[in-house]
């Protein structure tokens, strides 16, 4: 029998058991839609993280005390510290200090060096107070290294003392009354004048940045003067980053006179790679969970096909009596299952796309702002791409066919005489 005729009969079968067909299709729709929603969410997340990472200076290399295999921890150490967490989390006893800065100054590939400390402390404004992250930076270089942009006022200058630059989110939303330029905020009882506010990038930014000398004053209980939580260096344009990282490591090893490395050197490039591997494995993990529902849908197709084979046993016998070959019967039932996969897949693609834009508007609209996700003006949180839609649709048809294989084989193997006798 020609394939188009098999398809016609399969279509006829689907159309004539509408309730069962639709219920089976719903199973696939849910599976496909959840896979698409999750994958698009994952892709959106990856996209946002990547776009934020790409705003970082590619020539930036960060040194932190203690040797951590793999990558050097918290986001906050990069991009000039705003919103950071991590900081001096290392358990190592080793510290970074002035000698290390001096050693770094001898390396010709380095153009800028910023020393940095950070910690949480008590901040009050207008009668309210909160525990916030405060970073102390080198006012001479920080403004050239940070990825933040000035929204209002200015960034730190070499002669600054007793002043802070704060994040947009802190300025506009943390305390009841917004903090504006020129106002004083109190940190650990000391008064600091706000000279700059970062621009609203859609990112969550409650950073407080001040000259490092002032920071030792407010974070004094936990920090030793002239010890740094990390040192950021910017390499000259066109430098081979991996070679420079190796050189920095070698120079510091010899200047610190240690045999085993007790500090970590990580470049933005390393960070980008590791973050994107984290987000892709996260996406993969979530997709695997969503795929479970697609699997359940597949079991639904198989179940429905077995029922259909039972129900159609007599018709299979009739078709065989009038000349249908095993192969014809097999093809008809496979087409039947494939059609369910196809229709389920198509509807799932539509529903998944709608769900994904719904999730996106839910996350951005309700002001849920996780670091890296959503936030005002952050654009779409989800990303539906055509290849995902086509891919998932193909998978859905394939899954349909696959779950139809055993029932179709069973149907094709029925002996005409037995099938005809079936009531």
């Amino acid at each position: 029998m020609k394939l188009d005729k098999c398809l016609k009969i399969a279509l006829n079968m689907v159309m004539h058991s509408p309730l069962r067909s639709w219920l089976t299709i719903v199973g696939i729709v849910i599976g496909v839609a959840s896979v698409i929603a999750i994958v698009s969410l994952g892709n959106g997340l990856q996209n946002q993280v990547n776009s934020q990472l790409s705003s970082l200076n590619a020539n930036l290399v960060t040194l932190s005390p203690g040797f951590e295999r793999g990558q050097g921890g918290g986001f906050g150490r990069f991009g000039g510290g705003p919103g950071g967490f991590g900081g001096a989390a290392s358990t190592a006893v080793a510290t970074l200090g002035k000698n290390d800065v001096r050693a770094l100054q001898s390396i010709s590939e380095i153009s800028l060096i910023n020393t940095q400390i950070s910690g949480r402390t008590n901040v009050s404004f207008g009668g309210e107070s909160g525990n916030l992250q405060v970073s102390g930076v080198d006012p001479k270089t920080w403004s050239q290294i940070t990825s933040s942009k000035v929204g209002q006022g200015r960034f730190l200058e070499p002669s600054d003392k007793g002043v802070v630059v704060i994040g947009y989110s802190l300025a506009s939303g943390f305390f009841k009354s917004p903090i504006t330029l020129g106002k004083d905020i109190s940190i650990e009882g000391k008064s600091f004048k706000v000279i700059g506010i970062t621009s609203d990038t859609g990112r969550f930014d409650r950073s407080i940045t001040m000259p490092i000398d002032d920071a030792y004053g407010v974070l004094g209980s936990t920090k030793t003067r002239d010890d740094y939580d990390n040192i950021q260096v910017v390499l000259k344009d066109g430098t081979d980053i991996d070679a420079a990282v190796a050189k920095i490591t070698a120079v510091l090893m010899s200047s610190r006179n240690v045999k085993t490395q007790d500090f970590t050197v990580s470049s933005t490039k390393d960070l980008q790679q590791s973050v994107s591997s984290v987000t892709s494995s996260l996406t993969l993990f979530l997709t695997a969970i969503a795929a479970v529902s697609l699997l359940v849908g597949a079991v639904g197709i198989a179940n429905s096909m077995f029922t259909s084979v039972l129900e159609k046993t007599k018709e299979i016998g009739i078709m065989k009596a009038v000349g249908a070959k095993n192969r014809d019967i097999m093809t008809i039932f496979l087409f039947n299952a494939g059609l369910i996969g196809l229709v389920g897949g198509l509807l799932g693609v539509v529903l998944g796309t709608i769900a994904s834009s719904f999730i996106s508007s839910l996350l951005t609209g309700s002001g849920i702002s996780l670091p890296g996700i959503g936030g005002r003006g952050g654009g779409s949180v989800t990303l539906v791409s055509v290849d995902i839609l086509i891919g998932v649709l193909a998978i859905s048809v394939f899954v349909g066919l696959l779950s139809g294989v055993i029932p179709a084989y069973q149907a094709s193997k029925l002996k005409p005489v037995d099938a005809l006798r079936y009531e």
């Binding site: 006829n12 159309m15 018709e315 078709m319 009038v322 249908a324 095993n326 005409p416 005809l420």
Partner: protein, 253 residues
Amino acid sequence: MEKTHPTDKPIVVLKDVWKTYSMGEVKVHALKNVSLEIRHGDFVAIVGPSGSGKSTMMNLVGCLDTPTKGTVFLESRDITKMSESDLASLRGKTIGFIFQQYNLIQNMSAFENVLLPLELQEFDDYSAEKRAAELLKLVGLGDRMGSRPTQLSGGQQQRVSIARSLAANPEVVLADEPTGALDSVTGREVLETLHRLWKTEGKTIILVTHDMNLARYAQRFIELKDGEVVRVEKNRDVQKVDYRLPEKQQGIG
């Protein structure tokens, strides 16, 4: 137009055929060492009371089943040695079935039911559709082509099934109690149609029935009892059939 009956060439041959069903420990011999030969152009009635092995015989003659022992030849080919797909194809080309319960596919229209064997034999669309329409007109259902079996009377359904049995222009028409579910007038019409197919089209007709009145139309009886052939006999008094039929029913095949 009339053809010589029968020719000497056998079309279906059963040789020393046994069919045994196992029911738990008990083995039931539905057919015991049966041999018979049906030739081109025969009109044979296979008769016998219920439980005599008629249905088993019909399944074997129709190549829907294979024997436990012995051989069945269809067009000189041993069906026990044929692949499933070759047998299906040969069966589809050679034998048209008419069943007691019509066995039409419920979700297909009369037209689609008649079209099915043609599609299975991969006729081209144009000639298949033309032939299916012609056959339905021939059995007087030209105006009911789009009707589903549930919208047709028993007699009409049986006519669709006759049209379907003739679709692929088979050599043999195998009718299993074709009038069993019909009233006597409609039943007689069906029998007369079969008779005409034999007489004017030269089809080989195999009629399986328990009713000796129907068997009178046949040219030969094969009587079964307890799984054995007890009588093979020429019918000396073939039922006379009046061929002055309406114009539209002339020339089936």
